[in-house]
């Protein structure tokens, strides 16, 4: 007679979960590498339109972002018309001048004319606002722009 009971034969052995942490860590690292922390806190709805003739933005070039769209739920008191957002603040088209100047102040001299303005605009915005933004950018001689879009079929927009 033994002190310990012999294991009963038969029946499924429990599945080992020892490798579960490894799997989860792998996923974790994937997400850490593949994503970037949001640079700006968006205060507007920002559903980008889709297009299929897109080009990747060169990360080596300086990029400034201009957002536009309808104020989101939390900022309902700002109205329902599409607004511009620059660096965590709602802005008027006339504020773009100062924005471009401050973005340019952060750049090295040889990068000054390489600045790309990425326009992240909500699908429901009106072209009037975009036209105003473009006009301001032309005045500031910031002519390289990029309409940021998702990859997808443009005709179904």
């Amino acid at each position: 007679m033994s002190k310990f009971k012999k294991k009963k034969e038969g029946g499924l052995p429990p599945i080992s979960t020892a490798s579960l942490p490894d799997i989860v860590f792998m996923l974790l690292f994937f997400f850490m590498v593949a994503t970037v922390i949001k640079e700006d806190n968006l205060m507007i709805d920002n559903k980008l339109p889709s297009a299929d003739q897109i080009e990747k933005l060169d990360k080596k070039r300086p990029i400034s972002y201009i957002y536009a769209g309808k104020p989101s739920e939390r900022f309902k008191n700002m109205g329902t018309e599409a607004r511009i957002q620059l660096n965590d603040k709602f802005a008027r088209p006339s504020d773009i001048k100062a924005f471009i100047a401050s973005e340019r102040a952060n750049l090295r001299e040889d990068q000054l004319n390489k600045l790309i303005i990425a326009l992240k605009v909500d699908v429901d915005a009106n072209m009037g606002l975009i036209g105003d933004i473009k006009q301001e950018l032309r005045k500031e001689n910031a002519l390289k722009i990029n309409y940021t879009t998702r990859k997808g079929d443009a005709v179904s927009n």
Binding site: E55, K60, A125, T148, T149, K151
Partner: protein, 211 residues
């Protein structure tokens, strides 16, 4: 007394910790969408410069109204056009190649109608929109125009450099890929520039109309 070995650390909660971190990253991040349609704005002219004279047959006028409907004026004929047909129409216009003599178009494969464009570099696309046009529609229109140019550039690229096994868009992507080595980039750039010279994007945008 027997030597006691150090007790093993219980790693059972490791998975929980990792899950917590994973969920944190899932929630706080979004996959970067740093791609889009590159465009160049025209610089502001100091003085009133006389606009260059362009023959009517070389202009493709596209109007987008506040109801997001498209009207095209080509070769003196006005016509409503659906978004899905726009690419075809633009290609037909650019590719027409009606020019003769000096303006003859070597790479055009179009209908060669006399009332449509002479050659690629003469053909101008002019886009105007209303202040109430939706951004969505505008991007779709821009996309279709770029697509039409890319279609023609692809064809010209293949005809000029049949051995490369790439088309214009693929070469451009390779050129912009930071992993491509510099000597290949140099070669690609030459080819791309040559195609761009044959098929330039001549694009004019009217100021947005006041509502």
């Amino acid at each position: 007394m027997a030597k006691r070995s150090a007790p093993e650390v219980n790693a059972g909660s490791m998975a929980d910790i990792a899950f917590l971190l994973l969920i944190f990253f899932l929630v706080t991040t979004d996959i970067a969408t740093d791609s889009g349609l590159n465009r160049k704005l025209p610089p502001i002219q100091d003085k009133e410069v006389e606009p260059p004279l362009i023959k009517k047959r070389n202009i493709f006028v596209l109007n987008v109204n506040r109801k997001n409907q498209l009207l095209m004026t080509r070769a003196g004929e006005e016509k409503r056009v659906e978004l899905k047909d726009l690419r075809k129409e633009v290609v037909a216009f650019l590719d027409n190649g009606g020019g003769t003599g000096e303006d003859a178009c070597k790479y055009c494969e179009g209908a060669k109608k006399t009332e449509s464009s002479d050659n690629f570099s003469k053909a101008v696309i002019s886009l105007s929109n209303d202040r109430l046009t939706k951004y969505e529609t505008y991007i779709s229109v821009q996309n279709e125009i770029i697509a039409a140019y890319n279609e023609i550039r692809n064809r010209v690229f293949k005809r000029l450099f049949p051995k490369s096994g790439l088309n214009y868009v693929e070469s451009n992507n390779r050129y912009q890929d930071p992993q491509t080595n510099p000597s290949e980039k140099e070669k690609l750039k030459e080819k791309l520039e040559e195609v761009k010279k044959i098929v330039p994007q001549v694009f004019s945008e009217a100021d947005t109309k006041k509502a």
